[in-house]
Each structure stands twice: as structure tokens, then as C-alpha cells.
Symmetry: C2
Subunit: 112 residues, 2 copies
Amino acid sequence: MFDPVCPSDLSPIRFADKWGGMVIRCLEGGPRRFSELRVPLRGITAKVLTQSLRTLERDGLISRTEMAGPIRHVEYELTALGRSMLAPMDVACAWTAEHWDELIDAREAAAS
Amino acid sequence: MFDPVCPSDLSPIRFADKWGGMVIRCLEGGPRRFSELRVPLRGITAKVLTQSLRTLERDGLISRTEMAGPIRHVEYELTALGRSMLAPMDVACAWTAEHWDELIDAREAAAS
DNA sequence: CCGGATCCACTTAGATACTG
DNA sequence: CAGTATCTAAGTGGATCCGG
């Protein structure tokens, strides 16, 4: 999960903050819990994920709902606005995938 | 120029760094000189513009050519890769324009 | 004209430890 | 389970002054 190809840090296109785009991708298939999100986003710390989620929530892209019950259960879900951003994200991913080689080449050429 | 609507810092979509998207927009109509770029990007300092240009160049999005002659004359121009990024940028701009009100509302609701 | 050099404020990401 | 508190390191944007 989160193969090195799509929203890598090499792409000049960014959605929200560093993890924002990937969080949105994780929510594409429906609501997810906090700990469920940590799995695919391997290596993200709780604090940074919280930060990213708060930003996305503030921008109206996701919603946070605390489920009732004895044990804690919080779910994050894309809002309509958040889902609408999947379209530009797809375009950005397609562009990055298509020009991946050129991006790599440019970086290598600049490093020399 | 650089009306508050398109690539404002309120949009969650970013191209390259803070000014990168706007620089690319400025180069859309053909090559421009350093000082020509500073006009529409009102308020940008020389250092920051240089920084942004270097990053875009490193990523292969623009090219820098020093013109011959007694007085200094440097031109920046979009590469093929840079021009290809206009498509995702248009999509991002359209998305931002379309959902501008929702973005504003979300921020206001979060501020309260 | 086109920057580089220096310094500074602010933000961001992350590591680590702790909590209702 | 779903975070918070604290600290640190690194990066980014900008102001100001200097230079070929």
C-alpha cells in the first residue's frame, strides 16, 4: 500500500499537507477509524495523523464522528467536498505517473 | 493580476512551492525575464523568486537561458514538461473556483 | 539586471512519552 | 482506542543588505 508511484514526495503537486492526499485516498472506499488509517500510512505517527486530519476537517474535506458506546470509536469520512476533490487528484496522479520518468531524469540531471 | 480567486493560499492544492503555480501561469504566454516575473507576483522578493525558479528548474518544469549581450538578460521559459502541467493546473483552478464558497464556509465554521 | 549572502520568524514533520 | 504534551530538527518564506 502506498506504492512509491502515485503521491510520492517527488510529485510537484500536493493536496493539503504531506499526508493529506493519501488520507483522502484511504477514505475513498468509505469511513475509516483512526487506527485503520495508520495501517496503510506506514510510519505516520499518531500526532502527525491527528494534525493532518484536523486540517482536512477544518477545510471541510472530511468529517469526524465519535461513535457512542463503552469503548472509544471515532470515524473519519469524506464530505461531499472531499469526494469532489478525488477528480483533481486523479488528474494529478495520472499526470505524475505519465511523467514519472521525466521527473526522475530532471532530478538526476540537476544533481550532477 | 493574481486576483484573489485562483491559486490563493486557501486552496488545498499546491503546485511546487508557494509561488510555483503562479510562476508557471506567468510563463504560460511565452518566455519572461526575471524582472518581468516580479511585476505580476506583487510582493515577492528577489531571493524567494530565485528560489522558486531554481526549484522549478531542478524539477524540469522551466528552463533558464542567459542571453548574450552587454547588459544582463535572463529568460525563463516553460519546458514541454512544464507546459504539460498546465492541464492539471487548470483542473485544480476549476475545482477551487467551483468550491470557493464551501472552502470559505468551512474555514469560517472552524474558526468559531 | 539578476541575483547571492546573511539572518530571522514561522511552520512542519517527527520522536518520544504519557493519558482518559 | 484515540489521541495529547513536549521537545527537537529541518525546511520555508521573507527582510535586508551587498555584488558582478
